[in-house]
């Protein structure tokens, strides 16, 4: 581009403007039918080619990454919006095909009712829930409806990383698929007949839903006719045998009792106490993630699929940078997110732009429900998320490759372990977002900044005599200096500092907009206290531990 001697004075050779894809043109793929939609910059597709392209992308993303093993239980996180509805529809269609090409996992759906955080009235929430249930019954997968208020009854274990044995190499995936196919052919006859009514013409999306609708009455353990037939086979055994868990998966159309008014009140109070919309959105996302994780763990799902589209992920990438979460971009925007350990979050819609999703939903009648969110009708500058969204979309309108460029960048991000020690003990994790902590406890610039800003927020009533000791405690600097032996001064201004020092930089910045930590759900505060107590006990014991550890390490390295 910038070459020595290039003459900027002369105008670039006049290129004719790219031909506007007009109706006279044919579909770029089949070259026969009239195009209906323009994807990317200038590729016009007809309806059938568009559908094939869309479905193919979905299958390809799943197939390329080979993370979802046959027979695995996957929880689909559904918000009612177009992307997640489209994802569910793709799963529904993908499971219903006969032949070796069909999807092979066992789906369930979770819907989180966030009406309280968005200020909806109970009447509106009930109406929305009724609409959601209609669609859930049409789809026919086991579903779980949870209200956001249930975060107040989550256990602290939801914040812990539960390690899982590694799923194995590519060879393991292929072997798993082969053995699964063999199992399928074994109880052959009964299955073949079952799969006949289930297999529909893949082109007509109306097919699978009607078949599922006839079986939409609460599927009991004898779910032999719903799709997929194999899943029904594998699901009927566990419920009869292992009734130790809450509900068996098939019968789990779980919907807890509607939240009590006290819980709704507590949730509203929490969100009202947050000062900025940016922090509200981040908090909402955090709580929602924890809740979905809890549902997944309780009901035995090992994967969660979210409907983040390409556009949303590009916006999220830029927003995360602005929020100080640059260290975790690979987890926040990548295909798979293993920060929780046993439950992996997967994003199969990450290559579909919002335009494609909207067109597909319209052309092929995918049902979705519109629910107002926390930032509906908010002005453009009200939060970093909105600002970034407006920026990206405006830029996209002028330069149609913006979103895909940002997206491609996110694909290149690599998840590097923190200190390069793959075999070492896992480092501490952020209390809220569960990413490996990116803050050094000792003299880093961020710690200093956190310390000084915390000092400036100190309440006047704190007697000045404690001022010298508190800086040590507040930013977590120099825990080792033994200042915590003077237990009184530490504890006094305490719980907030204990929580803050266990957060990553991005979460700390968010917490600044939360003046008091009291309205937070109890599991967060409990876990924070547990961790800090554990850390201080470890600290005290450290002095008494025999030094063989150090010698062994130096010997190895």
């Amino acid at each position: 581009m910038c070459q020595v001697g290039e003459d900027y004075g002369a105008p670039a050779p006049e290129m004719p403007p790219p031909p506007r894809a007009g109706r006279e043109l044919k579909c770029v793929k089949c070259k026969e039918d009239l195009p209906v939609v323009v994807i990317r910059a200038g590729d016009a597709f007809c309806r059938d080619c568009f559908k094939a392209f869309y479905v193919h992308k979905f299958r390809a993303v799943l197939g390329k990454n080979r993370l979802i093993f046959p027979g695995e239980k996957v929880l689909l996180a559904w918000s009612g919006g177009p992307s997640s509805s489209s994802m569910i529809w793709q799963v529904l269609e993908g499971l219903s095909r006969d032949s070796a090409k069909r999807l092979r996992f066992v789906p369930g759906i979770v819907y989180v009712d966030e009406g309280a955080a968005c200020g909806q009235s109970p009447g509106d929430r009930a109406r929305t829930l009724a609409e959601m249930k209609l669609i859930l019954q049409t789809v026919g997968f086991p579903w779980h409806i949870v209200a956001l208020e249930e975060v107040f009854s989550l256990p602290p274990s939801v914040l812990r990383y539960l390690a899982q044995e590694p799923s194995g190499t590519k060879g393991a995936y292929k072997a798993a698929v082969d053995s699964f196919l063999q199992q399928q052919h074994a109880p052959a006859e009964g299955e073949e007949q079952l799969s006949q009514p289930g297999s529909q013409d893949p082109q007509s999306p109306a097919g699978p839903p009607t078949a599922a609708q006839t079986e939409a009455q609460p599927p009991t353990a004898a779910q032999t006719e719903a799709q997929p037939p194999t899943a029904a086979q594998t699901e009927t055994q566990p419920p009869t045998a292992a009734q130790t868990e809450a509900q068996p998966p098939t019968a789990a159309q779980t919907e807890a009792q509607p939240p009590t008014a006290a819980q709704t009140e507590a949730l509203s109070r929490l969100f009202d106490s947050v000062k900025t919309l940016t922090a509200k959105e981040e908090l909402l996302q955090t709580l929602r993630t924890h809740l979905i994780l809890h549902v997944a763990r309780t009901h035995g799902y090992s994967k969660v699929m979210t409907g983040d589209s390409c556009t949303r992920l590009a916006i999220k990438l830029m927003t995360s940078l602005a929020l100080g979460r640059g260290a975790f971009l690979a987890w926040d925007t990548g295909f798979s997110d293993e920060r929780h350990g046993d439950v992996v979050v997967v994003r199969p819609m990450r290559e579909h732009t919002l335009k494609e999703v909207a067109f597909y939903n319209r052309l092929f009648a995918v049902p979705s429900v519109f629910t107002p969110a926390i930032d509906t009708k908010a002005p453009e500058k009200s939060s970093i998320h909105r600002l970034m969204e407006a920026f990206m979309l405006r830029l996209q309108a002028q330069f149609p490759s913006t979103v895909s460029t940002v997206y491609r960048t996110s694909e290149k991000l690599v998840k590097a372990p923190r200190h390069g020690s793959a075999g070492g003990p896992p480092g501490p994790r952020c209390l809220l977002c569960m990413c490996a902590l990116d803050i050094d406890t000792a003299d880093s610039a961020t710690a200093f900044g956190a310390q000084t800003s915390h000092l400036s927020h100190m309440q006047p009533p704190t007697p000045p005599a404690e001022a010298p000791t508190t800086p040590c405690c507040s930013a977590g600097v120099g825990r080792a200096q033994g200042c915590c032996q003077g237990a009184e001064p530490c504890r006094r201004e305490d719980p907030r500092a204990h929580v803050i020092e266990q957060l990553c930089y991005g979460c700390r910045v968010n917490m600044k907009d939360l003046p008091s930590l009291d309205p937070l759900p109890p599991y967060i505060l409990t876990e924070a206290q547990f961790r800090s107590q554990r850390a201080s006990v470890l600290q005290e014991m450290q002095e008494y531990l025999i030094d063989s550890d150090d010698e062994a390490q130096t010997g190895e390295s």
Partner: protein, 101 residues
């Protein structure tokens, strides 16, 4: 002199919130000298249908980025975007993609 046109205007994806929650509007555009095109339709919508927050729907003389326009179930980019001339009984659909999920 263009004759009055009867057009169906529909809003989806959350855009209906700006129009009192009503998704489908059957409108009759009055006759005028210049033929009706999308540009003038947007002006008409802003004046007659839009109930609040015009900046969330219209930007300049076009729709806000993030709002898709379908004319008879086809992408408006194939038909000339703002310069497409409306015919009688056309159906124009505005989908907001900004309420993702």
């Amino acid at each position: 002199m263009a004759a009055p046109l009867s057009v169906e205007v529909e809003f989806g994806g959350g855009a209906e919130l700006l129009f009192d929650g009503v998704k489908k509007h059957q409108v009759t555009l009055p006759g005028q000298e210049e033929p009706w095109d999308i540009r003038s339709l947007l002006v008409w919508i802003k004046k007659n249908l839009l109930k609040e927050r015009p900046e969330l729907f219209i930007q300049g003389d076009s729709v806000r980025p993030g709002i898709l326009v379908l004319i008879n179930d086809a992408d408006w980019e194939l038909l000339g975007e703002l310069d497409y001339q409306l015919q009688d009984q056309d159906s124009v659909l505005f989908i907001s993609t900004l309420h993702g999920g």
